[in-house]
Structure formats: C-alpha cells, structure tokens
Amino acid sequence: MKKKKYLSLMVFSLLLFTPSIGHGMHIMEGFLPSKWAIFWAILSLPFLIVGLKKVNKVLKADTNKKVLLGLAGGFVFVLSALKIPSVTGSCSHPTGVGLGAILFGPTTMTVLGIVVLLFQALLLAHGGLTTLGANVFSMAVVGPLVSYGIYKLLKKENKNNSIAVFLSSALGNLMTYVITAIQLSLAFPDSVGGFTASLGKFLTVFAVTQIPLAIVEGIITVIVMNLLLEYKAEGVVDLETIQ
C-alpha cells in the first residue's frame, strides 16, 4: 500500500515537473536524420562565409554602418522571440531578417540569424545544434534572399517604397516556413503519397499559421523603415539601401 502511494506520487511529480517540449518554429534537436542535417549545413556554409566577410567589412567601416547593423540585429532578436497567436489556433514567431536584408543584403543576415538561432538552440532548447544547418538555411539564407530579391525587383519597377518593404519582409518571413515544410517533407516523405503528401501536411502546420504573422512582420518592418527614412531625410543617418 505504501509502495503504491509512493509510486503514484512519483508519477504525479514526474508529470508535474517534466518540462514541456520547447515550443519553437524551428526544426527541433534530433528531428532531422543525420544525412539531411549535414546536407543543409553544407548548403548554408558558403552564405555564412561570404556573410562573415561582409560583417567584418561593416565592423571596420564608419560608426553609421555599425549602428545600423546593431539595429538590424536587435530587430531579429526582438521579433524572433515574440510568439504570436495565429488564426489556426497555434503560435509561431516572425523572423525579423527582412529589415537587415534590405539594408545590408542577404548574407549579412545569415550571420545575424545564426547568432539568434544559436542563442535559442543553446539556452531555450528551441531548434537545435544538429538541425542548425537546416534552420539557418530557411531563416537566415532563403528568408533574407527572398526579401532582398523582392525589394530589389520592386524598387526597379519604381514601386512605392513602403509597399516594397512590406512585401519583401512579409514574403521573406513566409518563405522561411515554406522551406521548413519542404525540409521536413524531404526527410519524412509520406509512405503513401510521398513527398507531396507530406508537404501538404507540413505546409498546413507551418505556412498557414505563418500568414498573419508574415503580415505583422511586414507592418512592423515598414514602421522601422519609416523611422529610418525620416532620420535619413534629417541627415542624421546614412542609409545605403540597395536601390
């Protein structure tokens, strides 16, 4: 009798104190088979190397650029920690890489993205070291590339700057999670429907949840950009946007 009580107490306390699974939107530790983990890491590596060179250049440049880099980094830190409710009844978070991609180009954001992803993998059990390559590829390579590409394209077409900023940051955010869904589907193809069936399932989980958040990220990026452009007009900051 005593033993039984003891046992149920043990089970109860175990249930009570077992930490919930780290809720994040990155692929969790150990959740990609090793060949895929290595594949995505290798694919991200060149972007990181180019990015490190670029960041080095910025750090040697005038304070103006350094300050803007700090701003872009701070933006990623804030936005990627805010888990926001979505219409699907689950939560996800923005990435914040669009602003920096517009200001500095895509590879610089690979470096800033890795800093944040490492912070979350090591301190928050959010994402992971084995899945770092895949998460870097989606959030810090493709996301910024898409943002940069769309911004450049829309500016070339002489579209309104705010609209260009909004679309580039929102779509960069959305693409990050589309890539995450693709990565998971490649690693876990459905036994019946294969890759496409899996993709449908993962896209429902990630991309649909992400749509309102992408819009929020677009709006917030426009606000920060508006502030920066105002200070630029006053002559207190030099924006070398990629126009």
């Binding site: 530790e29 959740f31 701003l71 409710p85 979505s86 876990f188 399932k201």
Partner: protein, 97 residues
Amino acid sequence: MKQSNKTNLLLLFLAIVIIITPLLLKKDSEFEGADGQAEGVIEEINPEYEPWMEPLWEPPSGEIESLLFSLQVAIGAGAIGYILGTFKERKKLANNR
C-alpha cells in the same frame, strides 16, 4: 502630430488588431507552438522515428524559458531603443546648431 507619426501609429494599431483577432476568434484553442504540431505530423508519417539527439540543456521550467525569451527581447529592444535614441539626439543637436 506629424503625418508620418500618424501613419506609424495607425500601422502599429493594425498590427495589434491582427495579433489579437485569433485570440478572440479561437477562444478554446491552446495556441501551442507550430513545431509541436509538426512533431505530431512526423509521428503520424513515421511512427518509428526517434530523435537521435536531445538538446544539451533545456530550461527547467516554463518560467525559466520565458525568462530567457524575455532576455532575448530585452537585448534586442535595448539595442533598438538606444540606437533610435541616438538618432533622435543627433537630430536635436543638428537643429540647434
């Protein structure tokens, strides 16, 4: 108020509305992380899959986790506030000259 400030406030308000709407529309949802759901999908597709690595360290409780998340936001928000503050001050100094 300046026109640009008005626009920014309006945009901020819009963002807040988009964030709050799901909470009102889906009152009985749990609003768990999308990655937890992804884990469910993985289990469904491949029930035998076992994660081959565990996180090196996990926050011991939800409280510690939110502490660290707040720390992340604090670092970022501090940097943004400081930098935008310097711009504002620079503008003031330039105008006084």
